[in-house]
């Protein structure tokens, strides 16, 4: 009996694999079809999603490449011309929109994007990539090439972008000064502190008093010592990292040499002292250990984060968290910095330039849309006037911050961010420095060994660089 089953299976799979071979480059869908003929139970399920991609070959297609659903949900909610079709498809007028979502883990998003951009010229019109999103850490890898269109070539003028914060444009300027992307967020960030802990350690939870106690790194370190003495942990060394790395005096890579900036040295030395004193820990961001501070018994003094951190990272829905009790406060922190934000870029060779132009203008410069995004999604939007409105109105009061209105601080922060020292290597260098120094902070390796490991790891990623 079993022999017969096995023989039957064998026969069926032979047919299937032959069919798959015949399908050539289209083998995936061919094998799905023939196998459903063979009567396998799982086949119908596979049918549902697959044909959608092929069905559109007739019409015009707007291909959007991104690594998560954030932009898609913003477009769905705020771009009135867009109607959602299913999770990865929609329509703008008679234009089909295809969302190509590849997660950024293991560099998969960029690898995929690189490959697509390199094939752009030879791709069929409907397969051409029209829009892709980038993050600041690696923006110049794309914006400083001809694969990305200057916004002026799309017909977007500087005056259209006048209400945006300057740093958001610096990030996507190419070496000739052309702006090649546009963001709807201005993610200036600061220090989000536990009000209970502030009262206990500093005697006050007023944002101005707390700011005075962390106004620069010296004061921050003094406060951290007090915080540790009171039985709290200040935060993780990985929380403060971005604040230091945003305020460097030179690029990570100069003449193909890796240069460790004085402010990064300062991060290493400050962090080591604080970890040794028990004032900071080395928890990985997003990990369970790191997340413990969201509840009072986690005994964490602060997190570092921008506006999106409030709603998405403090677990306000969980009644046991500090956030649910409105127990957080916000102040600017030791140095201005930003965290996050997504830039919309137009790919050279797009066959739907008008649609791309409208999408970028509406999503990143339309004040009504941006106000809507700010209020409904709690994004800190890239518009000076909208932030000014929010700072002076009750709409800007945030319950989990105990009713505090952080927008004046956020807007002031966004004005002072200076990102003239970005390089295409930032992402790799930042990741590897944090990875490598962990052993030093934990006391399991000395500083030089960790730095050696850092150089080696960066050169693995970027073989053209040297120490």
């Amino acid at each position: 009996m079993k022999k017969k089953i096995l023989a039957g299976l064998l026969a069926a799979t032979m047919v299937i694999s032959l069919a798959a071979c015949g399908g050539g480059s289209d083998s995936g869908s061919a094998s799905t079809d023939s196998s459903s003929d063979a009567g396998a139970a799982e086949a119908p399920a596979a049918e549902e999603a697959a044909p959608a991609a092929e069905a559109e070959s007739g019409g015009k297609v707007l291909n959007i490449y991104c690594w998560n659903e954030e932009f898609k949900s913003r477009v769905t909610d705020h771009y009135s011309a867009y109607t959602e079709f299913d999770a990865t498809h929609g329509k703008i007028g008679d234009l089909d929109v295809v969302w190509n979502i590849t997660p950024s883990d293991d560099n998969a998003y960029q690898n995929n994007l690189d490959q697509t951009l390199l094939n752009q010229e030879s791709a069929a019109a409907d397969d051409k990539i029209d829009v892709f999103l980038v993050e600041a850490d690696y923006a110049s890898k794309y914006t400083d090439t001809d694969y990305t269109m200057a916004l002026s070539d799309l017909g977007i003028s500087d005056s259209d972008l006048a209400d945006q914060y300057e740093y958001t444009q610096t990030i996507v300027k190419d070496s000739n000064g052309a702006i090649k992307g546009s963001a709807w967020q201005a993610c200036s960030a600061g220090l989000i502190y536990n009000r209970e802990a502030a009262k206990e350690v500093l005697g006050s939870d007023d944002p101005a008093d707390v700011q005075a106690a962390v106004a620069d790194w010296d004061k921050y370190n003094e406060t951290a010592a007090k915080v540790a003495a009171a039985g709290y942990t200040m935060c993780s060394v990985n929380d403060t990292y971005r604040t230091y790395s945003n305020n460097v005096s030179g690029k990570w890579v100069q003449d193909d040499k890796i240069v460790i900036d004085a402010n990064m040295e300062k991060w290493i030395d400050d962090s080591k002292k604080l970890v040794d004193a028990g004032a900071e820990d080395t928890d990985e961001l997003w990990g369970d250990d790191w997340a413990k501070g969201k509840r009072p018994d986690g005994k964490v003094f602060c997190y570092f984060g921008p506006a999106w951190f409030f709603n998405f990272c403090l677990d306000v829905d969980d009644p046991e968290t500090i956030a649910a009790k409105g127990g957080w406060g916000y102040c600017a922190g030791p140095q201005p910095y930003y965290w996050g934000g997504t830039w919309i870029c137009a790919a050279t060779g797009t066959d739907n330039a008008d649609a791309v132009k409208d999408l970028i203008l509406t999503m990143t410069t339309d004040k009504a849309v941006l106000k809507d995004i700010a209020v409904k999604d709690s994004d800190c939007v890239n518009s000076k006037s909208v932030l000014a409105d929010l700072a002076s109105s009750d709409e800007g009061n945030i319950a989990l911050l105990g009713g505090q209105n952080p927008y004046a601080d956020l807007a002031a922060g966004a004005e002072t961010i200076d990102l003239s020292n970005l390089s295409p290597y930032d992402q790799g260098c930042n990741e590897e420095l944090q990875n490598a120094m962990k052993a030093y902070f934990e006391g399991t390796a000395d500083k030089d060994a960790c730095l050696e490991q850092f150089y080696a790891a960066v050169i693995e990623k970027y073989p053209n660089l040297s120490k």
Partner: protein, 304 residues
């Protein structure tokens, strides 16, 4: 008469070639050609940074010089072998013990079917999922730490993944858990193949069960033990996903859990076919040396 028989044998034997063809063709296409291109690539500078392609430029042995310019590569080899041994030693011991129990005629254990089924189950969990569970369990604030502190064994939380020995031991333990069932099944099948009359004779001669195990079972099990050893060694050299996911690809602490394949994976990031190729050739040479040792061992047994 004799001649025609000979012809017949020859005509049968041509089927040997025919039956070998699918294997040889597939092997040549999907393994041998890639192996040669990999070796070929190792003499070129060929990688991508961002959207910029560098090479391929012929640079001779430059990649090898670079690969061996630091002792790192030996460290990664040592890491790999140490973590493999940490898993393999307990694995083979427990498997032998369980195999002996399951096949022992005097024990007649009940519920064997259940136990035999259960021990293979961990192999069904993908390594990545397994690593995630371990990561949570052994986190600094995880349940293992709170249990150990609660029981007074530790005074403060011990961060398992920050210390070389404990991080390696976790990787070894996971490999042990995932593979001992597999090994037990293989060993058991070998033990069941041993003629029961040998045992009976031994028992009549008054041999103890320990004597039976060490004097009879173990020597007769040698071919299958060699098989287990060889396949496990191959698996060990290929160790990748358990330490990769447990340490988020960093090989922490200080790259003491970085395996050769994890290192290869780092070069895949920049599509560095040159360095990746050189590393692959190194791995190939290591396996070749190990295989010579193992097969020397097998042959000496066959002579005996």
């Amino acid at each position: 008469m004799g001649k025609s028989k000979n012809n017949k044998v020859v005509s049968y034997n041509k089927w040997g070639y025919i039956f070998l063809l699918p294997f040889l063709i597939t092997y040549t296409i999907f393994q041998l050609i890639p192996l040669f291109t990999t070796i070929y690539n190792s003499f070129f500078e060929n990688y991508r940074v961002g959207l910029m392609q560098v090479g391929p430029n012929f640079i001779g042995l430059q990649n090898y010089v670079e690969l061996f310019s630091t002792p790192d590569i030996w460290q990664y080899l040592a890491n790999t072998m140490i973590m493999w041994a940490m898993g393999f030693v307990p694995q083979i011991l427990l498997s032998l013990l369980l195999g002996a129990w399951f096949t022992s005629p005097s024990l007649r254990l009940k519920g064997q079917q259940f136990f035999k089924t259960v021990i293979y189950l961990p192999n069904l969990i993908m390594a990545s999922a397994f690593s995630m569970l371990f990561f949570t369990l052994f986190a600094n604030e995880g349940p293992i730490n709170s249990m150990l502190v609660g029981a007074g064994i530790l005074s403060t939380n011990y961060n398992f993944l920050f210390h070389t020995f404990s991080a390696r031991a976790l990787v070894g333990f996971m490999n042990f858990l995932m593979w001992f069932g597999n090994t037990t099944i293989l060993l058991m099948s070998g033990m069941l193949g041993i003629d029961p009359s040998i045992y009976e004779a031994a028992e009549i001669d008054g041999a103890s069960s320990n004597q039976i195990f060490f004097r009879i079972t173990l020597p007769l099990l040698k071919p299958i033990l060699v098989y287990v050893m060889v396949t496990s060694l191959i698996g060990g050299l290929q160790m990748f996903d358990v330490p990769q996911i447990l340490t988020s690809g960093t090989g922490d602490p200080s790259r003491t859990t970085m395996t050769l394949i994890m290192y290869l994976n780092k070069h895949l990031y920049s599509k560095n076919f040159g360095m990746g190729g050189a590393l692959s050739v190194f791995l190939f040479v290591v396996t070749a040396i190990l295989s010579v040792i193992v097969f020397k061992f097998v042959n000496s047994k066959e002579v005996k």
